[in-house]
Amino acid sequence: MFRTRFTRRLPAAVAVAGLALAVAACGGESTDSAETAPQATAAQLNPNADLSKQSLNVTVWDGYTPKELTERFKEKFKVSDMKIALHATNEEAMTKLTATGDSGIDVAFVSGQYAQALNEQGLLEPIHPELIPNLSNLYPEATQLSYDKGNKISVPYTWGTTGICYRSDLVKTPPTSWNDLLKPPAWADKKVTLMTTERWLALPALKSLGYSVNTDKDEEIAKAKQLLLDAKPHLLKFDDTTFGDLLVSGEAVMVEAWDGWCPTTDEKQNIKFTVPKEGSDLWVDTMVIMKSSKNKEAAHAFINYILDPEVHRWAAENINYKVPNKAAMDKVKVAPGSLLGIKPAELLDGESIIDLGQASTKFARLSSEITAD
């Protein structure tokens, strides 16, 4: 008799408890996310803090910093521990940094418009310039970037532009226009790739139509979407991470690429990079410090360490990305085929991608609609 009574009551009781928990939890969350962009307030930092009591967690693209970075930094600054986490794309990093309360990350590498977005959400600690004397190594241009004028919340790590990377021995005519990717000629059919990250996915189409990469007009985005949908059947795949390998192996002949990841210095010297005539962007990958970080002094020390010319030049010499650090670039030897010779002034011809606030979700939606079709 008890058996039946008990078991009939149990699921109900359990369900009620569960619901109560869920409701309580929801209540807590809604107040948080309803607030928009609280202005970042700076914490009081101690320039003489004992770093051996701090640890450091950094998230960065795979291969974007030297392998020995952890050991060297640990040795020099005696931090108690240091870990490097990897993300494949900006979007992945955003999920990591926003999904839960404490991401555990102190310093994150994200592109400029995403740094701006993180700041609008109140997740970033303002940069304390007095703790980063090496900021003076930056090109003057690198302190006036439109997503963050005056480097208040971010410090640039690399910069460059987006263009077409191609196999000079496998193309019949070198590409000159974004349309060469969007409407590939027969010899390149299913041998071209476009990127997957929302803003760079849209870029070739927007530029080919003569629009701004920062457009928030529905009709312009709709036209770009149609152009991308028409291009989709002619693509090999959408790819943000291995397009360089696909060119080297010959699976692809033309790809949308960031300049640094276009393997122009490959030993066979058959890979070239071009910025299409319709123009392109100026992107900046930055370092930001999370507000939730409990190791803000160590985080500043890390950014200052990166800006050291001897450290920063690594990126230019090993991954072929231009660094916005004049002192470092002056020391770099430019390898044959390298794109490092492009001057900051030329880079600034590109249109800087900025965060569009609520309109940014239009690009997220564009990306899912392209995926779904």
Partner: protein, 288 residues
């Protein structure tokens, strides 16, 4: 045996209730907190709006439904159904004869044959899928072979065919095992009797073997269909972002577009389709 302290003559009913509580409560509470509540959250998300950076803004909306029935997204659900059905059918066509022949083998070989079916399952899932990239890509083994024989290379990777191949490869063992169990249970005398009564081997198969192994067919199909229909890893790796399934959309909404409510709506649709199919199957089984 010395009576223990807990053996005092308490009311047996109270003791029973306590026993039920001690055994059932820990597991059930765990499942409620870490399964039912999360599922309830996914379901309730459907009615709310996206936060710009993921997360949920608790303002009521029906937009996620109207978006879900957009042909664009319904089309992906339909494609996933098509891919999952095709994979299940091929698995059945390959798995049934395989299981049937394994069941006829002498017992020593039978064990080896069965172990050989499960063995690939024991390596890492991602690496198993990755092996197909090596085989199928433009410069891969199959195409190199074709080139050597003087044929034009084929586009084998990044399309529906590659996705079905990968899914089939990953879940075929789940079809063979239940089929084998069902066929193995059959009494050989039944088939002999059928043959003695003058039935052709085909008639025997159709009228005796097949009906008796229908439960095995059902279980195997379910085992293949469910993980196939909700898959995102295989279409992502072998479909190149061009040949996609509901799972990819859900992943995109959660980890890329950061639109959790719409991702939740898609997940709800996925579960709804599966539940409908299960109900239909149970209904068919009861009528049979």
């Amino acid at each position: 045996m010395k009576p223990q302290a807990d053996a005092r003559p308490a009311s047996p009913a109270r003791e029973r209730r306590l026993g039920a509580f001690v055994f059932l409560a820990p597991g059930l509470v765990y499942l409620v907190v870490l399964m039912l509540v999360p599922l309830a959250l996914v379901l309730s998300n459907v009615f709310f709006q996206r936060g710009r950076f993921g997360g949920i803004v608790y303002e009521f909306t029906t937009e996620n439904f109207t978006r879900l029935i957009d042909p664009l997204y319904l089309g992906v659900v339909a494609d996933s159904l098509k891919i999952a059905t095709l994979t299940t059918l091929i698995a059945l066509l390959l798995g049934y004869p395989t299981a049937y022949l394994i069941a006829q083998l002498p017992s020593k070989w039978r064990t080896i044959a069965l172990v050989a079916i499960v063995l690939p399952f024991w390596t890492n899932f991602i690496i198993r899928v990755y092996a197909w990239i090596i085989l199928l890509n433009g410069q891969g083994l199959v195409n190199s072979g074709l080139k050597a024989l003087g044929f034009d290379p084929l586009e084998l990777l990044y399309n529906d065919g590659a996705v079905v191949t990968g899914l089939l490869y990953s879940y075929l063992p789940l079809m063979v095992l239940p089929l084998y169990a069902a066929i193995d249970k059959l009494d050989p005398q039944l088939r002999e009797a059928s043959a003695n009564l003058g039935a052709s081997p085909f008639t025997t198969f159709r009228k005796v073997t097949l009906p008796l192994t229908v439960p095995g067919v059902m279980t195997g199909s379910l085992f293949v269909f469910v993980p196939t229909f909700g898959n995102f890893v295989i279409p992502e790796m072998l479909g190149g972002g061009k040949s996609i399934m509901v799972g990819n959309l859900i992943r995109t909404e959660f980890l890329k577009a950061r639109d959790w409510p719409f991702g939740s709506a898609l997940a709800t649709a996925l579960v709804a389709v599966l539940v409908l199919l299960l109900v239909a199957q149970a209904w068919a089984a009861r009528r049979a």
